[in-house]
Symmetry: C2
Subunit: 197 residues, 2 copies
DNA sequence: TTGAATTTTCAGTATTTATTGAAAGTAGAA
DNA sequence: TTCTACTTTCAATAAATACTGAAAATTCAA
């Protein structure tokens, strides 16, 4: 029967996606289950209850619960209360750019900004030292700190702009950078800066 | 005595940096020890031997060995043979932009590209399906796939350009995006794209 | 109030990942 | 060759992380 086979196809593809997204998460330091739940909700037309998540992924209540809470803490998932029902349902942010911005902002807040502060401390602590090795260390750390600082700001800024702007800008950037850069307004910036290092 | 206190300061700052870099690594899915060894070599004026790394971090030979190999596999560290000496020494890539490019390329190669292929598979597998939920799934996955694809390309491209170009470009981008975007060539791109979402 | 439905917590356990250390392997010097 | 300095491997173990499930807490309707 056609529909049944289609359903199977869909189920298979979704399982694959959930598993893949989980793997990707864990490669980037995110709890596999949390990423899987996110994948599930991200591709679900309807909000899901804790029990549905448990059943879908075959995980315990405690596990489902704590990862749903964590996702809510990131702002990637919000809870939905259906009128007349007592149970809590969850839905994911579906807009990809929005999702990207949330992740960028959270990782910045949780990891990059604190790390940057620590780096700045280390750099400051070795500011006045005179020995050759201390000066070398300080110089190296200063460069790293400045670089991380720049990334931090870039992330902040990117996460603020509109989806259309970001995508279109990226496309132009890619085009402009492909082979001898020319075309577009990027031209002057890029050209005047090439070959400096 | 002045020098001794300076040395202590330096040692303390370096320990702090090593520990911090290790923490950062593990938040991003990189073995803590590998990141610590990297931090050590990154701020060492001289190449270090396996034994020196072992002593500095108080880790076993096997651990030092395998993580040094892994770092070499990433291309972040290379081995140095000193003439007359039999022992192998290791030094890190010191240029930060270079280092960033290496990491970007490796993560792209190891994680993003494979994940992208899997996503494209899932998307393709649900291409023709007619049911409402299948169509929703396919649409959502298509968007995600396209987005990851764009990131993949962007990474590739960024990792190719010159340090000066990247930094300067970023600075201009930040400036241009601060408050009502104007100035620079970015103006037209940005303005024409704001408010789309 | 009471009690059923639901959420939350957390001690115990399982799984995964990282580390040790000693034995085996290699390669250069004599 | 053989000796020695050094590197590599890997089974055993430890440490970190994630998960379970059942008991306690909460919430809401009657």
């Amino acid at each position: 029967m056609k529909t049944s086979s289609d359903d199977q196809q869909l189920a298979a593809a979704r399982d694959e996606f959930v598993s893949q997204w989980g793997a990707m998460g864990s490669a980037w330091g995110i709890n596999r289950t949390m990423a899987q739940i996110h994948a599930l909700l991200f591709t679900s037309a309807e909000p899901l209850s804790t029990d549905e998540v448990m059943a879908d992924l075959k995980i315990s209540r405690g596990n489902a619960h704590s990862n749903l809470r964590e996702l809510a803490g990131w702002g990637l998932v919000r809870s939905v209360i259906r009128k007349g029902e007592r149970k809590e349902y969850f839905e994911a942010e579906k807009d990809i750019w929005q999702m990207f911005c949330i992740i960028a902002r959270e990782r910045k807040r949780r990891e990059i900004t604190p790390a940057l502060q620590a780096l700045q401390n280390c750099t400051a602590q070795t500011k006045g030292l005179k020995s050759k090795s201390a000066r070398a260390f300080h110089g190296q750390l200063k460069e790293l700190t400045d670089f991380v600082d720049l990334c931090d700001r870039l992330m902040e800024t990117v996460a603020r702009i509109q989806k259309g702007a970001a995508v279109n800008f990226t496309l132009k950037f890619l085009k402009a950078t492909k082979s001898p850069a020319q075309a577009l307004g990027l031209h002057s910036q890029l050209e005047s800066l090439e070959g400096k290092r």
